[in-house]
Every structure is written in structure tokens, then in C-alpha cells.
Symmetry: C2
Subunit: 397 residues, 2 copies
């Protein structure tokens, strides 16, 4: 039984704030400053260059990768950290396309995060072999998985609506059609149980600064299924993915398995902060996390719908079809969110009209939800939003 | 007049150590721990998601880029930080190749860092259009710049020998042949004056954990000459290189100038450490740095040659042909370097037989050089290296 009152105490949460934006940037783990200071003073400061071996910096992308791997149902030794999520999307997609050389369709949906689509577009342009990035409505994704599709590039949880794709079913459908899958777990890792291995996912990528609380710009991760790990060709063939990086050979030879998805020098300081953040997860049972997430999101939906009739729910109501965020549509959403933030409830806004609230069970509890709804109801109340002067004022508060 | 005794005091250097490996990983700037703690506690901790604007995290890759830009002779607004050096090499090379669509040769030399060659090899393979990576001897580089060459990918200072290429002459030769240049400044930035603008360089990339002391895995930088900045197409087309990242448009539109070379979310913590490290450079005159570097390297060469006859200099003797490191060849170099490190003088070893010493004027002074030579002479002295038992012992000390 996970003690969420205890996990909440492991975070620094500013006085008077209800933070419902941990799906964008998680808060500071209390242990992170001391951990980072140790990395700076005791490792970098004292060990200097020898820290690469003595402090284990060189292997940290794999060690930390395994810690993330446990949270996403990856086989041990098949996740590695590094770079940014956009780079990891590109890397996974390039490798996947090469495993399906006779197909030309990259399938994705309009609920995918734009950077994933941009990276796919850039890769298709570079390859110049007629690849088509086919972007369909999220609900129509399954029916578009045909034998034309080389790779389905899917973000499991929609960054705007919080809608959850069925990873197992879509992966099975892709495999039946002879296609591969690249799953983006940006809004899944740490938000809900993920079972990459059980679902048969081919590739997966994600970031660690959202639900995993690794800090602004924390490193990304990549997973390659064991059956592909020694066949996937790394297009970004950097020295740390080489079979023998310190032999300084003139030609590239891909390292074993997930090692080949490493590119350049690991971001040691960022990995230290992330590692401190991952300590919080050590005692967390993912099923308990999911139960609490669904309980809190359900409460939030119920209370907001009861008290804020102007707001229209866009997150699926069915528990098995949503992640750990709740979004509402409101034409004056930008102004309303500014007003809310000014009153100490931090969510965020996504154009054109989405008010987005991340419900992160590690540090959000029922009292936070009730307080957030109270403030939201106050912001939304009465006939104020029919008054242009009020709307203008709210926008600049 | 730069006060190098003062800059030395700005670094933490472990007691009893002479650190001649700052060309691999610079030491800890004394200001870095407090700076990073402030970024963690006052920015991430208190501002949470609002730090992207309030603490200026989003613009930091450009701000820090300009600080690096000053040290490498870049025009203001044409350098941006992010990713790793390998990624930046790839990005520059991909953009450059696209500017020379009718040519198929990527020219480089065997003194280039292997990761640069690996990335070029990976890119050529991915493009699958018959690009040839032509790797020649460093001394033969100029004569191989012909009208077949699309791009010359050159590391200015050889990571093993310290040999310095003539950036101005090679760039002029490349341009005369209709080719472009990508300069890797890994061992140049902070090591000697670089004049990208004056030399007419097309692209340049580099890392910040060597002479710039940004910390293990510190972010890389990329420069694109103003004349190319709005034409270079970003193959790694991530959202932060988009003209309007937060409009979340479905299609990619490249941002203005150097902005388009951004890819994913900036590494905020690593940039904070780097920024503290760059403060040290504020008062440093690059001509004075170069003068001191040449003085110290000349002293080191002279003393080692006088006292360690077994060591064979591989760094060019002519001051204008070397960077800020000195390398010697010795068949038992690995063992000798281990013995040296065990005695508190830290250099490094590069296979098969190179003992490498970085002479970094910000914190290395004449006393350090003399002490290093004393210890090196002690390690090398007498007939010991003819004795297999001693060699074996030295290797494990």
C-alpha cells in the first residue's frame, strides 16, 4: 500500500499553491539540491575526469534507464537515457522505418504532440523516398492501421485532452498489419501503469520532467524491444553508441542492444537530479497510483461539472480511456487560467481553448482538488464571463 | 591584462593535484554549486512551470549561446546551445549537405574525433544518395578540397596531437572550390582565439565541458553563419526550432535564423552550471590567454624533452600550428599515465600510445608545469621502463 501522504512530503511545494501542472513540469524533489551538490562537489569537484569511471557517470544512462524501465514495464537493460524527447522520437522512428523498408506510411494522429509530427516530417523530408506522414483523428487511428503503414507513431496520452490510447490493442493491430509501433510516453510514464513488454511495443520514448519530476529539460529515454535491439540501426551513430567507444576506431560499429541508442556524452548533472527524483518512486505501486489518480480525476470532474457549468469536459469520462489529467474547453480559457494562476491554482492553457489540469497523485490530494475547484468556481462564477471588462481584467491579473 | 592568478582562484582544484586534463573535462568553478542551488530552489522550486518565462529558461540557449559566441568570434545572435556535440555535428552537416545538393563528398581527416566521422557515416547511410565520407591525412586536407567536395568537416585542433588547422586558409580554399565548412571547435573554444566571422566559417559546433568548464555532459553549441542562417534547413525539426512553438501548429515552419537549430526542451540545470562557468571568462582577453597558453606549452615541451628522453613529441613545435595541449608518444603510455595519475598529475591517454596533457591557462601556472614535469621525470626515469615488472606495477598503481 503506497503512502501518498509520505510521497507528498518528499516534494517542495510552494506555500499557498495548488500545483496542477505537474504534467508539464514536476515540482522539485526535496532531495534534489543535496544530491546535485554532492555530484558537483564530491564527484566533479574531487574526482574530475576520473568521475566517468569512479562515480559511474559513464554507465548512468543505463542505470537510470532501468529505474525508468520499471515504471513502464520494460525488460531490464532495454531502456537508456539521453538527449531530448524530440531526438529520441526521431531516433526510434528512423530505426523503425529501416526495419520496414518496403512501406512508406508513417501513421500518427492529430492528438500527437506537434514536435513528434515535426520530427517525422523532417525525417521523411531528409529520407526523400516518398514517405507520407498520415495524420488522422485519434478515434480513427485503429482503422487506418493497414498494410501500407510502416510505423504507427502514437502518443499514448493526448497532451491536450488526456485521452488514453489502448496500447495493447493498437500494437496488436499494427503487428497484424505488419507494421511497427513507436509509443511516446510523455504523459504516461509516472502517470499510469505502462506495460511495454506485455503490450509487445516495438519502440517507446518519453521525457522525465513531467510526472517523473526530473527537472526542467531533464533527459529523455528510449526503449527498444529485445527482439529489435540488435537489429535496429542507429542513424544518429554517435561514439557512445559504438561497440568500443574508447578504442577510437575510424568506422562505426553499433554497440550491443540498447547501447547503440546512446549518442553523445551523458548529461551527468541532469541525470543526478533525475536520479534523486526517481528515489521517490521506489516505494510506489503503480496500480495504487492509478487507483488514486482515477479517484482524484473523477472527483475533480464531478465537482467542476457541478459548479462550473461554463466549462465543457473534453477528457474522456470513462476511466480506462483517460490518463492523469483533466481538460475543459472554455472560449475564454486563456484569461480564466491566468486568473486562476493569480489565485494560486496553477494549471495551464493549450490553444485554442483548452484549460488543462494535471492530477499527479504523488503530491496532489483530495484537499488540493477541493481547494482548486473552490478557486476555479470563484473565477468562473456568476455572469462575470459575459462582461467583456471582466474578461479583460482577468486576462491581465 | 588578464589576471590568471585571479581566474585560478575561481576554480576548485583538489589539494595536491596538478590537473592537466581540462581539455577533457574542466574543473568545478567555485560559483557553480551556489548557482545551481539557486536554479533548483529559487527557480524550479518556487516558480515551477512559470520559470520558463519568469526565470528566462526558454531564452537561455540563446543568451548562453551569445556568451560562448564572444569567445569564438561569432556574430551576436548566431550561436545557440543544446543537445550534445555529436548531435550538433550531424545537424550542421545535414544542413550543409542540403546546401550543396549536387555534390557527394564529405571531406574530413583522420585526426578528426571519431564521433564526428561516425555521425557523418550514419548521415550518409541514411541519405542513401551515394555520399562518400573521404577521410584523408590531416596534412593532406587542403589538397583534397576539390570541386567534388560538398562539405569539409574539420576539427580545428586534433584531439590526440593538438595540431591546429588553419581555419582561415582552409575555409577560403573550400569556398574557392564551392564547398562549405563545418568546424568542430571541441578543442578550440576557450583554448585559443577563434574568429569564425573573420574566417568566413559556414557552420561551427563544439562542446562546453572541456576548456569552457561547463561540467560533465554540459550542452553543446552550434553556429550558423548569418548568410546561411535563414536558408539552412533543419533536418532535426523539433518544436523549439519552430517559428511559433507554442502555437502547436500541425506542420513544421522553421524559426528565424539560429532559432531553427534548436530541437527539444533546453537542459536548464546544465545551462545554469555552464553559465556560472562562463562568468570566469568575462574578464579574459583571448589574446592574453593565447600568449600564456603558448608560453606554458613551450615550457612544458622544453622541460619534458630535456628530462624525459623516452617521450617523443607529437604536437607540432611551431606555436601557430598547435592548440593548448601537448602530447607525447610512448609505447608504454597507458602504464606511464596511470603511474603519473597515481602521483597526482592528471593527464590522459589515447590509444595506441599517446600521453596527452591539456595546458589550460585559466588555472594552470608555471609552478604546476614544473611540478608536473618533476613527477613525470620521476615516473620516466632510469632504466625502469626497460623492466617488464616495473611496467606491470606502474600499470596497476
Amino acid at each position: 500500500m503506497t503512502d501518498f501522504a509520505a510521497t507528498k512530503r518528499l516534494f517542495h511545494l510552494p506555500e499557498g499553491i495548488v500545483y496542477l501542472d505537474g504534467n508539464s513540469l514536476g515540482p522539485l524533489p526535496r532531495a534534489a539540491p543535496a544530491r546535485l551538490e554532492g555530484t558537483l562537489r564530491d564527484e566533479w569537484g574531487e574526482m574530475l575526469i576520473t568521475g566517468w569511471n569512479r562515480a559511474g557517470w559513464m554507465d548512468q544512462p543505463r542505470r537510470t534507464g532501468d529505474r525508468v524501465g520499471r515504471l513502464i514495464g520494460a525488460e531490464a537493460g532495454h531502456v537508456v537515457m539521453g538527449d531530448t524527447l524530440s531526438i529520441k522520437v526521431w531516433q526510434a522512428l528512423a530505426a523503425a522505418l529501416e526495419l520496414r523498408p518496403d512501406r512508406r506510411v508513417i501513421l500518427s494522429d492529430s492528438g500527437n504532440f506537434p514536435s513528434d509530427l515535426y520530427m517525422a516530417e523532417g525525417l521523411a523530408g531528409l529520407l526523400d523516398k516518398g514517405h507520407e506522414l498520415r495524420v488522422v483523428e485519434p478515434e480513427a487511428l485503429a482503422e487506418h492501421i493497414t498494410d501500407e503503414v510502416a510505423v504507427a507513431l502514437i502518443t499514448e496520452v493526448d497532451y491536450r485532452t488526456g485521452r488514453l490510447h489502448d496500447m495493447r490493442a493498437l500494437t496488436a493491430k499494427a503487428h497484424a498489419a505488419g507494421a511497427l509501433t513507436v509509443w511516446d510516453l510523455a504523459h504516461s510514464a509516472g502517470a499510469l501503469p505502462v506495460d511495454l513488454s506485455g503490450a509487445g511495443a516495438d519502440f517507446a520514448v518519453g521525457c522525465t520532467y513531467k510526472y517523473l519530476n526530473g527537472g526542467p529539460g531533464a533527459p529523455a529515454f528510449i526503449y527498444v524491444a529485445p527482439r529489435h535491439a540488435d537489429h535496429a540501426r542507429p542513424a544518429l551513430s554517435g561514439w557512445l553508441g559504438h561497440a568500443a567507444p574508447f578504442a577510437f576506431e575510424p568506422r562505426y560499429r553499433a554497440g550491443d542492444g540498447i547501447e547503440r541508442m546512446r549518442v553523445g556524452t551523458p548529461p551527468v548533472l541532469a541525470l543526478a537530479a533525475l536520479d534523486a527524483a526517481l528515489d521517490v518512486w521506489d516505494g510506489v505501486d503503480m496500480a495504487a497510483l492509478r487507483a488514486r489518480s482515477l479517484e482524484l480525476t473523477a472527483l475533480f470532474i464531478e465537482e467542476v461539472e457541478a459548479r462550473c457549468p461554463r466549462l465543457q469536459l473534453v477528457t474522456p469520462r470513462a476511466p480506462d480511456r483517460r490518463g492523469s489529467q483533466v481538460s475543459f474547453r472554455f472560449a475564454e480559457g486563456y484569461a480564466a487560467m491566468q486568473a486562476l494562476i493569480a489565485r494560486g491554482v496553477i494549471g495551464d492553457f493549450r490553444a485554442p481553448d483548452i484549460m488543462r489540469f494535471g492530477i499527479t497523485p504523488l503530491y496532489i490530494d483530495e484537499a488540493d482538488i477541493r481547494r482548486a475547484v473552490d478557486v476555479l468556481a470563484e473565477v468562473m462564477e456568476g455572469d462575470l464571463w459575459d462582461d467583456p471588462a471582466y474578461r479583460a481584467r482577468a486576462a491581465v491579473t
